[in-house]
Amino acid sequence: MAKFKNFFATRWGIIGVGAFIGVIAALLQKLGNPGNMGICVACFERDIAGAIGFHRAGVVQYMRPEIIGFVLGSLIAAYIFKEFRPRTGSAPVVRFVLGVFAMIGALVFLGCPWRALLRFAAGDGNAIFGLLGLIGGIWIGTLFLKGGYNLGRVQKTYTSVGWLLPLTMLGFLILMIIFPQIKGEAKSGILFYSVKGPGMMHASLIISLLVGLAIGFAAQRSRFCTMGAFRDLILFKQTHLFLGLLALVTLAFITNLIVGQFHPGFVKQPVAHTMQIWNFGGMVVAGLAFALAGGCPGRQLFLAGEGDGDAAVFVLGMIVGAGFAHNFGLASSPKGVGPHGIAAVIIGLLVCLFIGFTMRKK
Protein backbone atom coordinates (compact mmCIF):
# COMPACT_ATOMS: atom_id res chain seq x y z
CA MET A 1 0.00 0.00 0.00
CA ALA A 2 2.78 2.37 0.88
CA LYS A 3 4.45 1.95 -2.50
CA PHE A 4 4.30 5.10 -4.57
CA LYS A 5 2.79 4.77 -7.97
CA ASN A 6 4.55 7.93 -8.97
CA PHE A 7 8.11 7.12 -10.09
CA PHE A 8 9.06 10.80 -10.21
CA ALA A 9 8.38 11.09 -6.48
CA THR A 10 10.88 8.34 -5.65
CA ARG A 11 14.48 9.01 -4.73
CA TRP A 12 15.72 8.24 -8.24
CA GLY A 13 12.86 10.22 -9.68
CA ILE A 14 13.82 13.45 -7.94
CA ILE A 15 17.51 12.86 -8.71
CA GLY A 16 16.62 12.33 -12.37
CA VAL A 17 14.59 15.54 -12.53
CA GLY A 18 17.36 17.57 -10.83
CA ALA A 19 19.94 16.11 -13.24
CA PHE A 20 17.68 16.86 -16.22
CA ILE A 21 17.25 20.50 -15.18
CA GLY A 22 21.02 20.84 -14.58
CA VAL A 23 21.99 19.54 -18.01
CA ILE A 24 19.24 21.40 -19.90
CA ALA A 25 19.93 24.71 -18.13
CA ALA A 26 23.64 24.54 -18.96
CA LEU A 27 22.85 23.66 -22.58
CA LEU A 28 20.28 26.46 -22.95
CA GLN A 29 23.17 28.87 -22.55
CA LYS A 30 24.81 27.26 -25.57
CA LEU A 31 21.53 27.73 -27.42
CA GLY A 32 21.41 31.44 -26.71
CA ASN A 33 20.28 32.12 -23.14
CA PRO A 34 22.38 34.57 -21.05
CA GLY A 35 25.54 33.62 -19.16
CA ASN A 36 24.97 31.33 -16.18
CA MET A 37 21.29 32.00 -16.78
CA GLY A 38 20.20 28.94 -18.73
CA ILE A 39 17.16 29.07 -16.51
CA CYS A 40 16.44 31.66 -13.83
CA VAL A 41 12.85 31.88 -12.71
CA ALA A 42 13.24 35.28 -11.05
CA CYS A 43 15.23 36.79 -13.94
CA PHE A 44 12.85 35.38 -16.53
CA GLU A 45 9.76 36.64 -14.73
CA ARG A 46 11.53 39.99 -14.53
CA ASP A 47 12.11 39.82 -18.29
CA ILE A 48 8.39 39.12 -18.76
CA ALA A 49 7.58 42.15 -16.59
CA GLY A 50 9.83 44.11 -18.95
CA ALA A 51 8.23 42.66 -22.08
CA ILE A 52 4.82 43.94 -20.98
CA GLY A 53 6.26 47.28 -19.90
CA PHE A 54 5.91 46.97 -16.11
CA HIS A 55 9.45 48.33 -16.04
CA ARG A 56 11.49 50.06 -18.72
CA ALA A 57 14.95 48.62 -18.09
CA GLY A 58 15.76 48.20 -21.77
CA VAL A 59 18.28 45.40 -21.29
CA VAL A 60 15.91 42.96 -19.57
CA GLN A 61 12.73 42.81 -21.65
CA TYR A 62 11.72 39.51 -23.24
CA MET A 63 8.67 37.28 -22.97
CA ARG A 64 10.47 34.15 -21.75
CA PRO A 65 8.72 31.05 -23.11
CA GLU A 66 10.41 28.87 -20.47
CA ILE A 67 8.17 30.38 -17.77
CA ILE A 68 5.07 29.90 -19.92
CA GLY A 69 6.15 26.28 -20.47
CA PHE A 70 6.69 25.67 -16.75
CA VAL A 71 3.09 26.54 -15.93
CA LEU A 72 1.53 24.79 -18.93
CA GLY A 73 3.75 21.68 -18.55
CA SER A 74 2.68 21.37 -14.95
CA LEU A 75 -0.97 21.83 -15.94
CA ILE A 76 -0.69 19.02 -18.51
CA ALA A 77 0.98 16.68 -15.98
CA ALA A 78 -1.61 17.50 -13.33
CA TYR A 79 -4.46 16.69 -15.72
CA ILE A 80 -2.92 13.46 -17.06
CA PHE A 81 -2.33 12.16 -13.54
CA LYS A 82 -5.58 13.53 -12.12
CA GLU A 83 -3.85 15.86 -9.69
CA PHE A 84 -5.36 19.13 -10.87
CA ARG A 85 -7.00 20.53 -7.73
CA PRO A 86 -8.33 24.08 -7.99
CA ARG A 87 -7.80 25.68 -4.58
CA THR A 88 -7.24 29.09 -3.05
CA GLY A 89 -7.90 31.19 0.04
CA SER A 90 -4.78 30.75 2.15
CA ALA A 91 -4.01 34.44 2.72
CA PRO A 92 -3.51 35.42 -0.95
CA VAL A 93 -2.57 39.03 -0.18
CA VAL A 94 0.27 37.85 2.06
CA ARG A 95 1.50 35.64 -0.76
CA PHE A 96 1.41 38.63 -3.11
CA VAL A 97 3.54 40.72 -0.76
CA LEU A 98 5.95 37.82 -0.21
CA GLY A 99 6.23 37.46 -3.99
CA VAL A 100 7.05 41.16 -4.37
CA PHE A 101 9.86 41.04 -1.80
CA ALA A 102 11.10 37.64 -2.92
CA MET A 103 11.68 39.18 -6.35
CA ILE A 104 13.29 42.32 -4.93
CA GLY A 105 15.69 40.23 -2.80
CA ALA A 106 16.51 37.90 -5.69
CA LEU A 107 17.28 40.88 -7.96
CA VAL A 108 19.68 42.36 -5.40
CA PHE A 109 21.63 39.08 -5.65
CA LEU A 110 20.79 38.66 -9.35
CA GLY A 111 19.15 35.28 -9.44
CA CYS A 112 16.63 32.87 -8.01
CA PRO A 113 17.83 29.74 -6.18
CA TRP A 114 18.06 27.86 -9.48
CA ARG A 115 20.36 30.49 -10.91
CA ALA A 116 22.37 30.63 -7.68
CA LEU A 117 23.04 26.91 -8.13
CA LEU A 118 23.79 27.32 -11.85
CA ARG A 119 26.16 30.22 -11.16
CA PHE A 120 27.92 28.12 -8.52
CA ALA A 121 28.14 25.18 -10.93
CA ALA A 122 29.80 27.46 -13.49
CA GLY A 123 32.48 28.64 -11.07
CA ASP A 124 30.96 31.98 -10.01
CA GLY A 125 32.25 32.36 -6.44
CA ASN A 126 29.83 35.20 -5.68
CA ALA A 127 27.05 32.63 -5.82
CA ILE A 128 28.42 31.06 -2.64
CA PHE A 129 27.37 34.16 -0.69
CA GLY A 130 23.96 34.11 -2.33
CA LEU A 131 23.50 30.44 -1.45
CA LEU A 132 24.58 31.06 2.14
CA GLY A 133 22.03 33.89 2.32
CA LEU A 134 19.37 31.62 0.85
CA ILE A 135 20.07 28.96 3.47
CA GLY A 136 20.08 31.62 6.19
CA GLY A 137 16.72 32.99 5.07
CA ILE A 138 15.19 29.52 4.90
CA TRP A 139 16.61 28.74 8.35
CA ILE A 140 14.84 31.80 9.78
CA GLY A 141 11.72 30.55 8.01
CA THR A 142 11.97 27.16 9.72
CA LEU A 143 12.09 28.91 13.10
CA PHE A 144 8.79 30.59 12.28
CA LEU A 145 7.33 27.27 11.08
CA LYS A 146 8.36 25.61 14.33
CA GLY A 147 6.80 28.52 16.21
CA GLY A 148 3.41 27.94 14.61
CA TYR A 149 3.59 30.22 11.55
CA ASN A 150 0.74 29.24 9.26
CA LEU A 151 -1.16 31.06 6.51
CA GLY A 152 -4.26 28.94 6.99
CA ARG A 153 -6.17 26.38 4.97
CA VAL A 154 -7.10 26.58 1.31
CA GLN A 155 -10.63 25.99 0.03
CA LYS A 156 -11.62 23.95 -2.98
CA THR A 157 -12.85 26.26 -5.68
CA TYR A 158 -14.04 26.45 -9.29
CA THR A 159 -11.91 24.72 -11.90
CA SER A 160 -11.65 28.01 -13.77
CA VAL A 161 -9.86 29.62 -10.80
CA GLY A 162 -7.04 27.14 -11.26
CA TRP A 163 -7.00 27.91 -14.96
CA LEU A 164 -6.46 31.67 -14.64
CA LEU A 165 -2.67 31.73 -14.44
CA PRO A 166 -2.21 29.01 -17.11
CA LEU A 167 -4.58 31.03 -19.34
CA THR A 168 -2.62 34.20 -18.63
CA MET A 169 0.53 32.39 -19.70
CA LEU A 170 -1.22 31.12 -22.82
CA GLY A 171 -2.25 34.71 -23.51
CA PHE A 172 1.39 35.82 -23.19
CA LEU A 173 2.39 33.12 -25.68
CA ILE A 174 -0.28 34.25 -28.14
CA LEU A 175 0.90 37.87 -27.78
CA MET A 176 4.40 36.70 -28.57
CA ILE A 177 3.19 34.99 -31.74
CA ILE A 178 1.08 37.99 -32.83
CA PHE A 179 3.91 40.44 -32.05
CA PRO A 180 7.13 38.50 -32.78
CA GLN A 181 10.55 39.98 -32.19
CA ILE A 182 11.80 42.20 -35.02
CA LYS A 183 15.58 42.27 -35.28
CA GLY A 184 16.99 45.54 -33.99
CA GLU A 185 13.59 46.89 -32.91
CA ALA A 186 12.88 47.61 -29.23
CA LYS A 187 9.15 47.14 -29.67
CA SER A 188 6.89 44.88 -31.67
CA GLY A 189 3.25 45.88 -31.38
CA ILE A 190 2.60 46.14 -27.66
CA LEU A 191 5.53 44.00 -26.53
CA PHE A 192 8.99 45.24 -25.57
CA TYR A 193 12.08 43.36 -26.76
CA SER A 194 15.62 44.11 -25.59
CA VAL A 195 18.04 44.99 -28.37
CA LYS A 196 21.05 44.60 -26.07
CA GLY A 197 21.97 43.02 -22.75
CA PRO A 198 20.74 39.75 -21.26
CA GLY A 199 17.19 40.38 -22.49
CA MET A 200 18.45 40.08 -26.06
CA MET A 201 20.02 36.70 -25.39
CA HIS A 202 17.67 33.80 -25.79
CA ALA A 203 17.22 30.41 -27.38
CA SER A 204 14.56 30.12 -30.10
CA LEU A 205 10.94 30.38 -29.01
CA ILE A 206 10.16 26.75 -29.86
CA ILE A 207 13.18 25.33 -28.00
CA SER A 208 12.54 27.50 -24.95
CA LEU A 209 8.88 26.52 -24.90
CA LEU A 210 9.52 22.79 -25.32
CA VAL A 211 12.18 22.82 -22.59
CA GLY A 212 9.80 24.72 -20.34
CA LEU A 213 6.99 22.23 -20.97
CA ALA A 214 9.28 19.25 -20.28
CA ILE A 215 10.63 20.73 -17.05
CA GLY A 216 7.15 21.85 -15.95
CA PHE A 217 5.85 18.32 -16.51
CA ALA A 218 8.72 16.58 -14.70
CA ALA A 219 8.82 19.08 -11.84
CA GLN A 220 5.07 18.78 -11.19
CA ARG A 221 5.43 15.00 -10.93
CA SER A 222 8.54 15.13 -8.72
CA ARG A 223 7.59 18.18 -6.56
CA PHE A 224 11.10 19.54 -7.23
CA CYS A 225 11.71 22.56 -4.97
CA THR A 226 15.01 24.20 -4.05
CA MET A 227 13.60 25.98 -0.99
CA GLY A 228 11.97 22.75 0.18
CA ALA A 229 15.31 20.98 -0.25
CA PHE A 230 17.00 23.14 2.38
CA ARG A 231 13.87 23.51 4.52
CA ASP A 232 13.27 19.77 4.84
CA LEU A 233 16.94 19.20 5.55
CA ILE A 234 16.93 21.79 8.34
CA LEU A 235 13.46 21.03 9.71
CA PHE A 236 13.22 17.23 9.39
CA LYS A 237 16.78 16.14 8.44
CA GLN A 238 15.11 14.78 5.32
CA THR A 239 17.28 14.53 2.23
CA HIS A 240 14.69 13.69 -0.43
CA LEU A 241 14.37 17.08 -2.18
CA PHE A 242 17.99 17.91 -1.38
CA LEU A 243 19.15 14.99 -3.54
CA GLY A 244 17.38 16.62 -6.48
CA LEU A 245 19.18 19.89 -5.78
CA LEU A 246 22.55 18.11 -5.54
CA ALA A 247 21.85 16.35 -8.84
CA LEU A 248 21.11 19.72 -10.48
CA VAL A 249 24.39 21.27 -9.31
CA THR A 250 26.47 18.19 -10.13
CA LEU A 251 25.11 17.68 -13.63
CA ALA A 252 25.21 21.40 -14.42
CA PHE A 253 28.86 21.42 -13.29
CA ILE A 254 29.75 18.40 -15.45
CA THR A 255 27.90 19.84 -18.45
CA ASN A 256 29.65 23.19 -17.98
CA LEU A 257 33.03 21.43 -17.90
CA ILE A 258 32.26 19.53 -21.10
CA VAL A 259 31.00 22.50 -23.09
CA GLY A 260 33.68 24.89 -21.75
CA GLN A 261 31.43 27.06 -19.58
CA PHE A 262 33.25 26.53 -16.28
CA HIS A 263 35.20 29.67 -15.34
CA PRO A 264 36.11 29.76 -11.63
CA GLY A 265 36.53 33.19 -10.01
CA PHE A 266 34.76 36.19 -8.54
CA VAL A 267 35.28 39.09 -10.94
CA LYS A 268 33.76 39.56 -14.38
CA GLN A 269 31.27 36.74 -13.91
CA PRO A 270 28.26 37.06 -16.24
CA VAL A 271 25.34 39.10 -14.84
CA ALA A 272 26.82 39.14 -11.32
CA HIS A 273 28.38 41.60 -8.89
CA THR A 274 30.94 41.21 -6.12
CA MET A 275 29.29 43.09 -3.24
CA GLN A 276 29.14 39.98 -1.08
CA ILE A 277 27.22 41.41 1.88
CA TRP A 278 24.36 42.25 -0.46
CA ASN A 279 24.62 39.01 -2.42
CA PHE A 280 24.08 37.43 0.97
CA GLY A 281 21.48 39.91 2.26
CA GLY A 282 19.36 39.88 -0.89
CA MET A 283 19.05 36.13 -0.72
CA VAL A 284 18.27 36.13 3.02
CA VAL A 285 15.17 38.17 2.16
CA ALA A 286 14.33 35.98 -0.84
CA GLY A 287 14.94 32.72 1.06
CA LEU A 288 12.77 33.84 3.97
CA ALA A 289 10.00 34.95 1.62
CA PHE A 290 10.10 31.60 -0.23
CA ALA A 291 10.01 29.70 3.07
CA LEU A 292 7.06 31.73 4.36
CA ALA A 293 5.24 31.21 1.05
CA GLY A 294 6.02 27.47 0.93
CA GLY A 295 8.04 27.21 -2.27
CA CYS A 296 10.84 28.53 -4.45
CA PRO A 297 9.83 30.57 -7.53
CA GLY A 298 9.96 27.48 -9.74
CA ARG A 299 7.79 25.45 -7.39
CA GLN A 300 5.25 28.30 -7.23
CA LEU A 301 4.89 28.12 -11.02
CA PHE A 302 4.38 24.35 -10.91
CA LEU A 303 1.85 24.67 -8.07
CA ALA A 304 0.00 27.35 -10.03
CA GLY A 305 -0.12 24.92 -12.96
CA GLU A 306 -1.81 22.25 -10.84
CA GLY A 307 -4.53 24.64 -9.69
CA ASP A 308 -3.08 26.43 -6.66
CA GLY A 309 -4.50 29.95 -6.91
CA ASP A 310 -2.38 31.20 -3.99
CA ALA A 311 0.82 30.14 -5.75
CA ALA A 312 -0.51 32.01 -8.80
CA VAL A 313 -0.85 35.14 -6.65
CA PHE A 314 2.76 34.71 -5.48
CA VAL A 315 3.85 34.53 -9.15
CA LEU A 316 1.95 37.73 -9.94
CA GLY A 317 3.57 39.32 -6.88
CA MET A 318 6.99 38.44 -8.26
CA ILE A 319 6.19 39.97 -11.65
CA VAL A 320 4.94 43.17 -10.01
CA GLY A 321 7.97 43.07 -7.68
CA ALA A 322 10.22 43.14 -10.75
CA GLY A 323 8.48 46.37 -11.76
CA PHE A 324 9.25 47.91 -8.36
CA ALA A 325 12.81 46.58 -8.45
CA HIS A 326 13.70 48.25 -11.73
CA ASN A 327 11.52 51.38 -11.52
CA PHE A 328 12.82 52.24 -8.02
CA GLY A 329 16.48 51.36 -8.65
CA LEU A 330 16.47 48.37 -6.29
CA ALA A 331 17.85 45.77 -8.69
CA SER A 332 21.59 45.22 -8.92
CA SER A 333 23.68 45.28 -12.07
CA PRO A 334 27.18 43.94 -12.77
CA LYS A 335 28.43 47.29 -11.35
CA GLY A 336 26.92 46.49 -7.95
CA VAL A 337 23.73 47.10 -6.00
CA GLY A 338 21.20 49.63 -7.25
CA PRO A 339 20.93 53.10 -5.65
CA HIS A 340 18.17 51.95 -3.29
CA GLY A 341 18.93 48.21 -3.16
CA ILE A 342 20.25 48.26 0.38
CA ALA A 343 17.18 50.06 1.73
CA ALA A 344 15.00 47.53 -0.10
CA VAL A 345 16.78 44.59 1.52
CA ILE A 346 16.25 46.08 4.99
CA ILE A 347 12.58 46.87 4.33
CA GLY A 348 12.07 43.42 2.79
CA LEU A 349 13.53 41.73 5.83
CA LEU A 350 11.33 43.79 8.17
CA VAL A 351 8.20 42.96 6.14
CA CYS A 352 9.01 39.23 6.16
CA LEU A 353 9.68 39.31 9.92
CA PHE A 354 6.39 41.15 10.46
CA ILE A 355 4.57 38.42 8.52
CA GLY A 356 6.43 35.64 10.31
CA PHE A 357 5.86 37.01 13.80
CA THR A 358 2.23 38.03 13.45
CA MET A 359 0.76 35.13 11.45
CA ARG A 360 0.87 32.16 13.73
CA LYS A 361 -1.71 29.86 15.17
CA LYS A 362 -1.66 28.33 18.61
Binding site: A2, R223, F236
Partner: protein
Protein backbone atom coordinates in the same frame (compact mmCIF):
# COMPACT_ATOMS: atom_id res chain seq x y z
CA UNK B 1 -10.88 5.11 18.21
CA UNK B 2 -7.93 6.40 16.20
CA UNK B 3 -6.33 9.77 16.64
CA UNK B 4 -7.04 12.08 13.72
CA UNK B 5 -4.66 14.72 12.38
CA UNK B 6 -6.61 16.99 10.06
CA UNK B 7 -4.13 18.60 7.69
CA UNK B 8 -6.64 19.10 4.88
CA UNK B 9 -6.12 22.33 3.01
CA UNK B 10 -2.73 22.97 4.56
CA UNK B 11 0.32 23.06 2.35
CA UNK B 12 3.85 21.76 2.89
CA UNK B 13 5.37 21.47 5.40
CA UNK B 14 2.36 21.80 7.75
CA UNK B 15 0.94 18.27 7.24
CA UNK B 16 4.36 16.74 7.91
CA UNK B 17 4.98 18.96 10.95
CA UNK B 18 1.58 18.05 12.42
CA UNK B 19 2.09 14.35 11.79
CA UNK B 20 5.58 14.31 13.30
CA UNK B 21 4.37 16.22 16.35
CA UNK B 22 1.62 13.65 16.90
CA UNK B 23 4.07 10.78 16.39
CA UNK B 24 6.39 12.32 18.97
CA UNK B 25 3.47 12.73 21.36
CA UNK B 26 2.02 9.21 21.27
CA UNK B 27 5.20 7.24 20.33
CA UNK B 28 3.15 4.27 19.05
CA UNK B 29 -0.37 3.39 18.01
CA UNK B 30 -2.49 4.43 15.07
CA UNK B 31 -3.00 7.86 13.50
CA UNK B 32 -5.30 8.90 10.69
CA UNK B 33 -3.93 11.85 8.73
CA UNK B 34 -6.27 13.78 6.45
CA UNK B 35 -4.61 15.63 3.55
CA UNK B 36 -5.91 17.14 0.32
CA UNK B 37 -3.08 16.88 -2.20
CA UNK B 38 -0.96 14.06 -3.63
CA UNK B 39 2.15 15.95 -2.58
CA UNK B 40 1.03 15.98 1.05
CA UNK B 41 0.12 12.29 0.82
CA UNK B 42 3.63 11.46 -0.39
CA UNK B 43 5.34 13.77 2.12
CA UNK B 44 3.39 12.44 5.10
CA UNK B 45 4.02 8.83 4.02
CA UNK B 46 7.73 9.50 3.65
CA UNK B 47 7.94 11.27 7.01
CA UNK B 48 6.03 8.50 8.84
CA UNK B 49 8.23 5.81 7.33
CA UNK B 50 11.36 7.73 8.32
CA UNK B 51 10.14 7.47 11.93
CA UNK B 52 9.64 3.71 11.64
CA UNK B 53 5.88 3.91 11.18
CA UNK B 54 3.97 1.87 8.59
CA UNK B 55 1.55 3.38 6.14
CA UNK B 56 -1.19 0.79 6.64
CA UNK B 57 -3.86 2.25 4.41
CA UNK B 58 -4.50 5.12 2.03
CA UNK B 59 -8.13 5.91 1.32
CA UNK B 60 -9.24 8.40 -1.32
CA UNK B 61 -12.30 10.48 -0.57
CA UNK B 62 -13.98 13.72 -1.66
CA UNK B 63 -11.64 15.92 0.34
CA UNK B 64 -8.44 14.15 -0.66
CA UNK B 65 -6.81 11.28 1.21
CA UNK B 66 -7.04 9.58 4.61
CA UNK B 67 -3.76 7.94 5.52
CA UNK B 68 -3.69 5.41 8.30
CA UNK B 69 -0.23 5.15 9.83
CA UNK B 70 0.69 2.63 12.50
CA UNK B 71 3.41 1.60 14.85
CA UNK B 72 3.05 -1.44 17.10
Amino acid sequence: MSIIVDAGGLSCPQPVLMTLNKIKEIQKGEIIVKVDTDTSKENVSRAAQSQGWDVANIQKDEAGYRLTIKKE
